[in-house]
Protein backbone atom coordinates (compact mmCIF):
# COMPACT_ATOMS: atom_id res chain seq x y z
CA UNK A 1 0.00 0.00 0.00
CA UNK A 2 1.40 3.42 -0.83
CA UNK A 3 2.75 5.14 2.26
CA UNK A 4 0.73 8.23 1.47
CA UNK A 5 -2.22 6.32 2.84
CA UNK A 6 -0.63 4.94 5.97
CA UNK A 7 1.33 6.29 8.90
CA UNK A 8 5.02 6.59 8.19
CA UNK A 9 7.01 3.38 8.78
CA UNK A 10 8.53 3.19 12.20
CA UNK A 11 5.98 5.54 13.69
CA UNK A 12 4.40 4.14 16.80
CA UNK A 13 0.72 4.67 17.13
CA UNK A 14 -1.45 5.23 20.08
CA UNK A 15 1.01 6.21 22.78
CA UNK A 16 1.16 9.95 22.49
CA UNK A 17 -2.41 11.05 22.03
CA UNK A 18 -5.19 11.35 24.56
CA UNK A 19 -8.47 12.65 23.15
CA UNK A 20 -9.36 14.28 26.45
CA UNK A 21 -6.21 16.39 26.72
CA UNK A 22 -5.39 19.78 25.16
CA UNK A 23 -3.19 19.99 22.08
CA UNK A 24 -1.65 22.57 19.80
CA UNK A 25 0.24 22.69 16.57
CA UNK A 26 3.95 22.21 17.22
CA UNK A 27 5.67 25.61 17.08
CA UNK A 28 8.02 24.38 14.34
CA UNK A 29 5.16 23.29 12.08
CA UNK A 30 3.72 25.38 9.26
CA UNK A 31 0.37 24.72 7.63
CA UNK A 32 -0.40 25.53 4.02
CA UNK A 33 -4.09 25.30 3.13
CA UNK A 34 -4.85 23.46 -0.11
CA UNK A 35 -8.06 22.63 -1.93
CA UNK A 36 -7.85 19.06 -0.66
CA UNK A 37 -7.00 20.06 2.91
CA UNK A 38 -3.52 21.21 3.80
CA UNK A 39 0.17 20.50 3.76
CA UNK A 40 1.91 20.47 7.12
CA UNK A 41 5.68 20.80 7.30
CA UNK A 42 7.77 20.26 10.42
CA UNK A 43 10.98 22.27 10.24
CA UNK A 44 12.56 20.19 12.98
CA UNK A 45 11.94 16.70 11.64
CA UNK A 46 11.75 17.96 8.03
CA UNK A 47 8.72 15.77 7.48
CA UNK A 48 5.79 16.72 5.35
CA UNK A 49 2.28 15.53 6.14
CA UNK A 50 -0.86 15.73 4.10
CA UNK A 51 -4.13 16.67 5.71
CA UNK A 52 -6.72 15.30 3.39
CA UNK A 53 -9.74 17.36 4.32
CA UNK A 54 -10.49 20.99 5.03
CA UNK A 55 -12.29 19.81 8.15
CA UNK A 56 -9.11 18.25 9.49
CA UNK A 57 -7.33 21.53 8.77
CA UNK A 58 -10.04 23.34 10.76
CA UNK A 59 -9.58 20.86 13.60
CA UNK A 60 -5.83 21.32 13.70
CA UNK A 61 -6.09 25.10 13.47
CA UNK A 62 -8.53 25.22 16.36
CA UNK A 63 -6.65 22.81 18.64
CA UNK A 64 -4.98 25.56 20.62
CA UNK A 65 -8.34 27.15 21.42
CA UNK A 66 -10.11 24.00 22.52
CA UNK A 67 -9.87 22.10 25.81
CA UNK A 68 -9.20 18.77 24.10
CA UNK A 69 -8.60 17.08 20.76
CA UNK A 70 -12.07 15.63 20.90
CA UNK A 71 -13.64 19.02 21.54
CA UNK A 72 -11.66 20.50 18.66
CA UNK A 73 -13.22 17.89 16.37
CA UNK A 74 -16.71 18.59 17.62
CA UNK A 75 -16.23 22.34 17.36
CA UNK A 76 -15.06 21.95 13.76
CA UNK A 77 -18.28 20.13 12.95
CA UNK A 78 -16.97 16.58 12.61
CA UNK A 79 -20.09 14.37 12.63
CA UNK A 80 -20.27 11.75 15.40
CA UNK A 81 -19.76 8.82 13.01
CA UNK A 82 -16.47 10.31 11.83
CA UNK A 83 -15.02 11.20 15.21
CA UNK A 84 -13.10 7.93 15.31
CA UNK A 85 -11.33 8.63 12.03
CA UNK A 86 -10.44 12.14 13.12
CA UNK A 87 -9.10 10.90 16.46
CA UNK A 88 -6.92 8.46 14.52
CA UNK A 89 -5.68 11.32 12.37
CA UNK A 90 -4.83 13.43 15.42
CA UNK A 91 -3.08 10.45 16.97
CA UNK A 92 -0.93 10.05 13.86
CA UNK A 93 -0.16 13.77 13.89
CA UNK A 94 0.82 13.55 17.55
CA UNK A 95 3.00 10.50 16.89
CA UNK A 96 4.90 12.35 14.18
CA UNK A 97 5.29 15.44 16.36
CA UNK A 98 3.12 17.68 14.17
CA UNK A 99 0.88 18.45 17.13
CA UNK A 100 1.85 18.30 20.77
CA UNK A 101 0.13 18.40 24.10
CA UNK A 102 -0.05 21.88 25.52
CA UNK A 103 0.02 22.95 29.12
CA UNK A 104 -3.57 23.93 29.76
Amino acid sequence: MPPTTTPAPGVETGASYDAERPYALHPQVSLRPESFGALAYHFGTRRLSFLKSRTLLAVVESLALQPSGLEACRAAGVPPEELGAYQQALRALADSGMICERVA
Partner: protein, 403 residues
Protein backbone atom coordinates in the same frame (compact mmCIF):
# COMPACT_ATOMS: atom_id res chain seq x y z
CA UNK B 1 -7.83 3.18 8.59
CA UNK B 2 -11.24 2.29 7.30
CA UNK B 3 -13.70 4.83 8.63
CA UNK B 4 -15.28 6.80 5.83
CA UNK B 5 -14.59 10.49 5.58
CA UNK B 6 -16.68 11.71 2.67
CA UNK B 7 -14.49 14.68 1.79
CA UNK B 8 -11.45 12.46 1.39
CA UNK B 9 -12.77 10.39 -1.49
CA UNK B 10 -10.33 11.60 -4.14
CA UNK B 11 -6.86 10.14 -4.16
CA UNK B 12 -4.15 12.56 -3.19
CA UNK B 13 -2.00 11.44 -6.10
CA UNK B 14 -4.73 12.60 -8.47
CA UNK B 15 -4.84 15.97 -6.77
CA UNK B 16 -1.10 16.29 -7.08
CA UNK B 17 -1.12 15.29 -10.72
CA UNK B 18 -3.43 18.24 -11.32
CA UNK B 19 -0.87 20.54 -9.72
CA UNK B 20 -0.92 22.84 -6.71
CA UNK B 21 -0.88 26.65 -6.42
CA UNK B 22 2.69 26.39 -5.20
CA UNK B 23 5.27 23.62 -5.34
CA UNK B 24 5.56 21.39 -2.29
CA UNK B 25 9.28 21.91 -2.59
CA UNK B 26 11.61 22.99 -5.32
CA UNK B 27 15.20 22.68 -6.34
CA UNK B 28 17.15 25.88 -6.80
CA UNK B 29 20.54 25.57 -8.39
CA UNK B 30 22.52 28.62 -7.36
CA UNK B 31 25.40 28.39 -9.79
CA UNK B 32 26.74 26.35 -12.64
CA UNK B 33 30.22 26.77 -11.17
CA UNK B 34 31.75 23.66 -9.67
CA UNK B 35 35.16 22.59 -8.48
CA UNK B 36 34.39 19.02 -9.52
CA UNK B 37 33.45 17.58 -12.89
CA UNK B 38 31.38 14.50 -12.06
CA UNK B 39 30.83 12.40 -15.15
CA UNK B 40 27.09 12.12 -14.50
CA UNK B 41 26.38 15.75 -13.52
CA UNK B 42 22.73 16.28 -14.34
CA UNK B 43 23.18 20.03 -14.82
CA UNK B 44 26.39 19.77 -16.87
CA UNK B 45 27.98 22.14 -14.38
CA UNK B 46 31.50 23.48 -14.43
CA UNK B 47 31.74 27.17 -15.28
CA UNK B 48 29.71 29.99 -13.81
CA UNK B 49 27.16 31.53 -16.16
CA UNK B 50 27.53 35.32 -16.35
CA UNK B 51 23.75 35.68 -16.33
CA UNK B 52 23.33 34.03 -12.92
CA UNK B 53 20.90 35.70 -10.53
CA UNK B 54 22.37 38.46 -8.40
CA UNK B 55 22.19 38.47 -4.63
CA UNK B 56 19.25 40.88 -4.72
CA UNK B 57 17.45 38.78 -7.31
CA UNK B 58 18.05 35.71 -5.19
CA UNK B 59 16.61 37.41 -2.13
CA UNK B 60 13.58 38.61 -4.07
CA UNK B 61 13.03 35.06 -5.24
CA UNK B 62 13.18 33.82 -1.65
CA UNK B 63 10.61 36.46 -0.69
CA UNK B 64 8.39 35.07 -3.42
CA UNK B 65 8.87 31.54 -2.09
CA UNK B 66 7.79 32.81 1.31
CA UNK B 67 4.66 34.43 -0.11
CA UNK B 68 3.82 31.16 -1.85
CA UNK B 69 4.39 29.29 1.41
CA UNK B 70 7.01 27.01 -0.05
CA UNK B 71 8.30 25.32 3.07
CA UNK B 72 11.80 24.56 1.91
CA UNK B 73 14.10 24.65 -1.07
CA UNK B 74 16.71 22.14 -2.10
CA UNK B 75 19.71 24.21 -3.01
CA UNK B 76 22.21 22.71 -5.39
CA UNK B 77 24.37 23.59 -8.34
CA UNK B 78 27.10 23.30 -9.42
CA UNK B 79 28.66 23.59 -6.02
CA UNK B 80 26.41 26.15 -4.33
CA UNK B 81 28.85 27.04 -1.56
CA UNK B 82 31.17 28.50 -4.20
CA UNK B 83 28.93 31.54 -4.45
CA UNK B 84 30.32 34.28 -2.24
CA UNK B 85 26.79 35.20 -1.15
CA UNK B 86 25.84 31.59 -0.33
CA UNK B 87 25.42 32.14 3.42
CA UNK B 88 23.73 35.47 2.88
CA UNK B 89 21.10 33.75 0.77
CA UNK B 90 20.74 30.85 3.22
CA UNK B 91 20.30 33.30 6.11
CA UNK B 92 17.77 35.30 4.13
CA UNK B 93 15.79 32.13 3.40
CA UNK B 94 15.66 30.92 6.98
CA UNK B 95 14.82 34.42 8.25
CA UNK B 96 11.88 34.34 5.85
CA UNK B 97 10.60 30.93 6.93
CA UNK B 98 11.94 29.09 3.92
CA UNK B 99 13.90 26.05 5.07
CA UNK B 100 17.03 25.08 3.20
CA UNK B 101 18.58 21.77 2.35
CA UNK B 102 21.70 22.16 0.29
CA UNK B 103 23.72 19.63 -1.62
CA UNK B 104 27.46 19.87 -1.52
CA UNK B 105 30.53 17.86 -2.37
CA UNK B 106 31.82 18.87 1.05
CA UNK B 107 34.81 20.87 -0.08
CA UNK B 108 33.77 23.99 1.83
CA UNK B 109 32.51 22.34 5.00
CA UNK B 110 35.15 23.69 7.34
CA UNK B 111 34.99 23.06 11.06
CA UNK B 112 33.48 26.51 11.51
CA UNK B 113 30.83 25.85 8.88
CA UNK B 114 30.03 22.50 10.47
CA UNK B 115 29.45 24.14 13.85
CA UNK B 116 27.28 26.78 12.26
CA UNK B 117 25.20 24.16 10.44
CA UNK B 118 24.81 22.05 13.56
CA UNK B 119 23.29 25.06 15.29
CA UNK B 120 20.51 25.67 12.79
CA UNK B 121 17.19 23.85 12.79
CA UNK B 122 16.30 25.31 9.43
CA UNK B 123 19.29 24.25 7.40
CA UNK B 124 19.98 20.68 6.34
CA UNK B 125 22.96 19.51 4.39
CA UNK B 126 23.43 16.71 1.95
CA UNK B 127 26.89 15.35 1.18
CA UNK B 128 27.23 13.70 -2.21
CA UNK B 129 29.13 10.44 -2.46
CA UNK B 130 28.85 7.94 -5.29
CA UNK B 131 31.02 5.13 -4.00
CA UNK B 132 31.45 3.54 -0.59
CA UNK B 133 35.14 3.28 -1.47
CA UNK B 134 37.45 5.92 -2.92
CA UNK B 135 38.05 3.76 -5.97
CA UNK B 136 34.40 3.56 -6.99
CA UNK B 137 33.55 7.12 -5.94
CA UNK B 138 36.51 8.90 -7.47
CA UNK B 139 36.03 7.20 -10.83
CA UNK B 140 32.77 9.14 -11.11
CA UNK B 141 33.34 12.25 -9.00
CA UNK B 142 37.07 12.80 -9.47
CA UNK B 143 40.30 12.14 -7.62
CA UNK B 144 40.23 13.08 -3.97
CA UNK B 145 36.47 13.63 -3.84
CA UNK B 146 35.91 10.63 -1.57
CA UNK B 147 38.38 11.96 0.99
CA UNK B 148 36.81 15.42 0.75
CA UNK B 149 33.34 14.08 1.43
CA UNK B 150 34.51 11.92 4.33
CA UNK B 151 36.31 14.88 5.92
CA UNK B 152 33.13 16.94 5.65
CA UNK B 153 31.11 14.17 7.30
CA UNK B 154 33.68 13.87 10.09
CA UNK B 155 33.40 17.60 10.74
CA UNK B 156 29.61 17.56 10.73
CA UNK B 157 29.55 14.61 13.11
CA UNK B 158 32.15 16.22 15.38
CA UNK B 159 30.07 19.40 15.47
CA UNK B 160 27.05 17.38 16.60
CA UNK B 161 25.01 17.70 13.41
CA UNK B 162 22.80 14.61 13.63
CA UNK B 163 20.83 13.43 10.67
CA UNK B 164 22.51 15.22 7.81
CA UNK B 165 22.12 13.38 4.53
CA UNK B 166 24.57 11.16 2.70
CA UNK B 167 23.37 11.29 -0.88
CA UNK B 168 24.22 8.56 -3.35
CA UNK B 169 23.34 8.22 -7.01
CA UNK B 170 22.96 4.48 -7.57
CA UNK B 171 25.08 3.17 -10.42
CA UNK B 172 26.08 -0.16 -11.87
CA UNK B 173 29.35 0.09 -9.95
CA UNK B 174 28.10 1.09 -6.51
CA UNK B 175 24.82 -0.84 -6.31
CA UNK B 176 26.74 -3.66 -4.65
CA UNK B 177 27.88 -1.26 -1.91
CA UNK B 178 24.52 -0.38 -0.41
CA UNK B 179 25.41 -1.95 2.94
CA UNK B 180 28.69 -0.08 2.80
CA UNK B 181 26.93 3.24 2.26
CA UNK B 182 24.59 2.47 5.12
CA UNK B 183 27.56 1.75 7.37
CA UNK B 184 29.20 5.05 6.43
CA UNK B 185 25.98 6.94 7.12
CA UNK B 186 25.59 5.18 10.47
CA UNK B 187 29.20 5.92 11.38
CA UNK B 188 28.62 9.67 11.07
CA UNK B 189 25.06 9.77 12.36
CA UNK B 190 23.81 10.62 8.89
CA UNK B 191 20.77 9.46 7.00
CA UNK B 192 21.38 7.60 3.76
CA UNK B 193 19.67 8.88 0.66
CA UNK B 194 19.70 6.87 -2.56
CA UNK B 195 18.58 8.36 -5.84
CA UNK B 196 18.31 7.26 -9.40
CA UNK B 197 20.91 7.90 -12.08
CA UNK B 198 19.24 9.95 -14.80
CA UNK B 199 20.48 10.32 -18.34
CA UNK B 200 20.34 14.10 -17.81
CA UNK B 201 23.12 16.61 -18.40
CA UNK B 202 26.44 14.84 -18.70
CA UNK B 203 24.61 11.78 -17.38
CA UNK B 204 23.41 11.28 -20.95
CA UNK B 205 26.98 10.49 -21.96
CA UNK B 206 27.53 7.77 -19.37
CA UNK B 207 24.06 6.43 -18.73
CA UNK B 208 24.46 3.38 -20.96
CA UNK B 209 27.48 2.18 -19.02
CA UNK B 210 26.51 3.39 -15.53
CA UNK B 211 22.82 2.72 -15.09
CA UNK B 212 22.04 -0.41 -13.06
CA UNK B 213 21.32 -3.58 -14.99
CA UNK B 214 17.89 -5.18 -14.78
CA UNK B 215 19.17 -7.67 -12.23
CA UNK B 216 20.74 -4.89 -10.18
CA UNK B 217 17.49 -2.93 -10.17
CA UNK B 218 15.83 -5.93 -8.61
CA UNK B 219 18.58 -6.16 -5.99
CA UNK B 220 18.15 -2.48 -5.23
CA UNK B 221 14.41 -2.84 -4.83
CA UNK B 222 14.78 -5.86 -2.57
CA UNK B 223 17.40 -4.03 -0.51
CA UNK B 224 15.14 -1.01 -0.11
CA UNK B 225 12.24 -3.21 0.96
CA UNK B 226 14.36 -5.18 3.42
CA UNK B 227 16.68 -2.50 4.79
CA UNK B 228 15.38 0.82 3.57
CA UNK B 229 13.04 1.81 6.40
CA UNK B 230 15.11 4.85 7.29
CA UNK B 231 16.68 5.33 3.87
CA UNK B 232 15.47 8.29 1.82
CA UNK B 233 14.93 7.95 -1.91
CA UNK B 234 13.67 11.36 -3.02
CA UNK B 235 10.73 9.53 -4.57
CA UNK B 236 13.10 8.66 -7.38
CA UNK B 237 12.51 4.93 -7.73
CA UNK B 238 8.78 4.94 -8.27
CA UNK B 239 9.31 3.11 -11.55
CA UNK B 240 10.31 0.10 -9.42
CA UNK B 241 6.83 -0.05 -7.86
CA UNK B 242 5.81 -2.43 -10.65
CA UNK B 243 7.87 -5.11 -8.90
CA UNK B 244 4.96 -5.47 -6.53
CA UNK B 245 4.72 -2.71 -3.97
CA UNK B 246 5.38 1.00 -3.81
CA UNK B 247 8.41 2.30 -1.97
CA UNK B 248 7.93 5.15 0.52
CA UNK B 249 7.12 8.42 -1.19
CA UNK B 250 4.42 10.01 -3.28
CA UNK B 251 5.15 7.68 -6.17
CA UNK B 252 4.31 10.00 -8.95
CA UNK B 253 6.16 12.18 -11.40
CA UNK B 254 6.00 15.54 -9.66
CA UNK B 255 7.49 17.50 -12.55
CA UNK B 256 5.69 20.81 -12.94
CA UNK B 257 2.98 19.54 -10.63
CA UNK B 258 4.46 19.54 -7.12
CA UNK B 259 8.15 20.16 -7.83
CA UNK B 260 10.26 22.14 -10.28
CA UNK B 261 13.75 23.48 -10.83
CA UNK B 262 14.96 27.06 -10.83
CA UNK B 263 18.36 27.12 -12.50
CA UNK B 264 21.17 29.61 -11.83
CA UNK B 265 20.01 32.06 -14.51
CA UNK B 266 16.41 31.94 -13.27
CA UNK B 267 15.06 29.55 -15.85
CA UNK B 268 12.28 27.38 -14.49
CA UNK B 269 12.26 23.77 -15.61
CA UNK B 270 9.74 21.06 -14.85
CA UNK B 271 12.23 19.13 -12.72
CA UNK B 272 15.94 19.01 -11.87
CA UNK B 273 16.46 16.19 -14.33
CA UNK B 274 14.96 17.99 -17.30
CA UNK B 275 17.28 20.85 -18.15
CA UNK B 276 16.28 21.11 -21.78
CA UNK B 277 14.28 23.65 -23.78
CA UNK B 278 11.53 21.10 -24.06
CA UNK B 279 10.89 21.37 -20.31
CA UNK B 280 11.56 25.08 -19.88
CA UNK B 281 8.47 26.81 -18.51
CA UNK B 282 9.76 30.39 -18.22
CA UNK B 283 12.10 32.60 -16.24
CA UNK B 284 11.77 34.16 -12.80
CA UNK B 285 12.94 37.49 -14.26
CA UNK B 286 9.79 37.72 -16.39
CA UNK B 287 7.11 40.20 -15.34
CA UNK B 288 4.97 37.83 -13.30
CA UNK B 289 7.99 36.28 -11.61
CA UNK B 290 8.22 32.70 -10.47
CA UNK B 291 4.61 32.69 -9.29
CA UNK B 292 3.31 33.35 -12.76
CA UNK B 293 5.57 30.74 -14.34
CA UNK B 294 4.42 28.15 -11.83
CA UNK B 295 0.73 28.95 -12.10
CA UNK B 296 0.29 30.00 -15.72
CA UNK B 297 3.00 28.65 -17.98
CA UNK B 298 1.79 26.65 -20.94
CA UNK B 299 4.19 23.82 -20.16
CA UNK B 300 3.10 23.33 -16.56
CA UNK B 301 -0.55 23.65 -17.52
CA UNK B 302 0.00 20.87 -20.00
CA UNK B 303 1.86 18.65 -17.53
CA UNK B 304 -1.07 18.99 -15.11
CA UNK B 305 -3.62 17.86 -17.69
CA UNK B 306 -4.55 14.18 -17.77
CA UNK B 307 -1.78 12.17 -19.41
CA UNK B 308 -2.19 9.36 -21.85
CA UNK B 309 -0.67 6.04 -20.80
CA UNK B 310 0.11 5.48 -24.47
CA UNK B 311 2.02 2.28 -25.12
CA UNK B 312 1.79 1.48 -21.40
CA UNK B 313 -2.01 1.63 -21.43
CA UNK B 314 -2.45 -2.11 -21.73
CA UNK B 315 0.02 -2.88 -18.94
CA UNK B 316 -1.47 -3.99 -15.67
CA UNK B 317 1.28 -2.23 -13.74
CA UNK B 318 0.73 1.26 -15.13
CA UNK B 319 -1.13 2.37 -12.06
CA UNK B 320 1.91 1.45 -9.97
CA UNK B 321 4.74 2.99 -12.01
CA UNK B 322 2.75 5.68 -13.89
CA UNK B 323 4.98 5.13 -16.89
CA UNK B 324 8.13 6.08 -15.01
CA UNK B 325 10.37 9.12 -15.36
CA UNK B 326 9.68 11.67 -18.09
CA UNK B 327 13.29 12.89 -18.16
CA UNK B 328 14.71 9.37 -18.36
CA UNK B 329 12.53 8.68 -21.37
CA UNK B 330 13.26 11.98 -23.06
CA UNK B 331 17.03 11.84 -22.79
CA UNK B 332 17.20 8.26 -23.99
CA UNK B 333 15.16 9.16 -27.06
CA UNK B 334 12.02 7.29 -26.01
CA UNK B 335 8.49 8.64 -26.46
CA UNK B 336 7.06 10.22 -23.30
CA UNK B 337 3.89 8.19 -23.53
CA UNK B 338 5.68 4.85 -23.45
CA UNK B 339 7.74 2.80 -21.03
CA UNK B 340 10.58 4.10 -18.89
CA UNK B 341 13.98 2.95 -20.24
CA UNK B 342 14.41 1.02 -16.99
CA UNK B 343 10.88 -0.44 -16.98
CA UNK B 344 11.12 -3.43 -14.65
CA UNK B 345 9.11 -5.56 -17.07
CA UNK B 346 11.73 -5.08 -19.76
CA UNK B 347 9.54 -2.98 -22.05
CA UNK B 348 12.07 -0.15 -21.86
CA UNK B 349 14.87 -2.34 -23.16
CA UNK B 350 12.73 -3.34 -26.11
CA UNK B 351 11.89 0.29 -26.76
CA UNK B 352 15.58 1.22 -26.62
CA UNK B 353 16.37 -1.52 -29.10
CA UNK B 354 13.59 -0.30 -31.36
CA UNK B 355 14.94 3.27 -31.49
CA UNK B 356 17.23 2.33 -34.33
CA UNK B 357 19.55 5.18 -35.26
CA UNK B 358 17.40 7.93 -33.79
CA UNK B 359 19.58 10.40 -31.93
CA UNK B 360 18.56 11.03 -28.35
CA UNK B 361 18.03 14.73 -27.57
CA UNK B 362 21.11 16.47 -26.21
CA UNK B 363 20.85 18.53 -23.04
CA UNK B 364 20.44 22.15 -24.10
CA UNK B 365 23.04 24.52 -22.73
CA UNK B 366 21.19 27.56 -24.02
CA UNK B 367 18.55 28.49 -21.43
CA UNK B 368 17.21 31.47 -23.28
CA UNK B 369 15.30 29.92 -26.14
CA UNK B 370 11.56 29.45 -26.20
CA UNK B 371 10.17 26.17 -24.92
CA UNK B 372 8.93 23.76 -27.52
CA UNK B 373 5.81 21.82 -26.98
CA UNK B 374 6.19 18.66 -24.96
CA UNK B 375 4.96 15.77 -27.09
CA UNK B 376 2.61 14.22 -24.59
CA UNK B 377 -0.69 13.07 -25.97
CA UNK B 378 -3.67 14.34 -24.05
CA UNK B 379 -6.88 12.53 -23.33
CA UNK B 380 -9.88 13.83 -21.45
CA UNK B 381 -10.48 10.69 -19.44
CA UNK B 382 -8.67 9.51 -16.36
CA UNK B 383 -7.64 5.98 -15.62
CA UNK B 384 -9.69 4.15 -13.03
CA UNK B 385 -8.10 4.89 -9.71
CA UNK B 386 -6.80 2.63 -7.03
CA UNK B 387 -9.05 2.20 -4.07
CA UNK B 388 -9.74 5.57 -2.55
CA UNK B 389 -7.97 6.39 0.64
CA UNK B 390 -10.58 7.33 3.15
CA UNK B 391 -8.55 8.60 6.06
CA UNK B 392 -8.52 12.36 6.59
CA UNK B 393 -4.80 12.17 7.17
CA UNK B 394 -2.67 10.74 4.43
CA UNK B 395 0.53 9.96 6.25
CA UNK B 396 3.72 11.83 5.64
CA UNK B 397 6.80 11.80 3.49
CA UNK B 398 10.31 12.78 4.46
CA UNK B 399 11.79 13.57 1.11
CA UNK B 400 10.63 14.66 -2.30
CA UNK B 401 12.38 14.57 -5.61
CA UNK B 402 15.37 16.77 -5.96
CA UNK B 403 18.93 16.25 -6.98
Amino acid sequence: MTVTVPSAGIRLVDRFEQGLDAPICLTWELTYACNLACVHCLSSSGRRDPRELSTDEGKALIDEFERMQIFYVNIGGGEPTIRSDFWELVDHATAHHVGVKFSTNGSRITEEVAVRLAGSDYVDVQISLDGATAEINDAVRGDGSFATAVTAMERLAAAGFAGFKLSVVVTRHNVGQLDGFKAIADRYGAQLRLTRLRPSGRGADVWDELHPTAGQQRELYDWLVARGQDVLTGDSFFHLAAYGGALPGLNLCGAGRVVCLVDPVGDVYACPFAIHDEFLAGNVRSSGGFTSVWRQSDLFTELRAPQNAGACGSCGHYDACRGGCMAAKFFTGLPLDGPDPECVLGHGEHALDARGDVEAPRPSPDHSSRPRRVPVALTPGRRPGRQCDQSPLAGSVPDLGDD
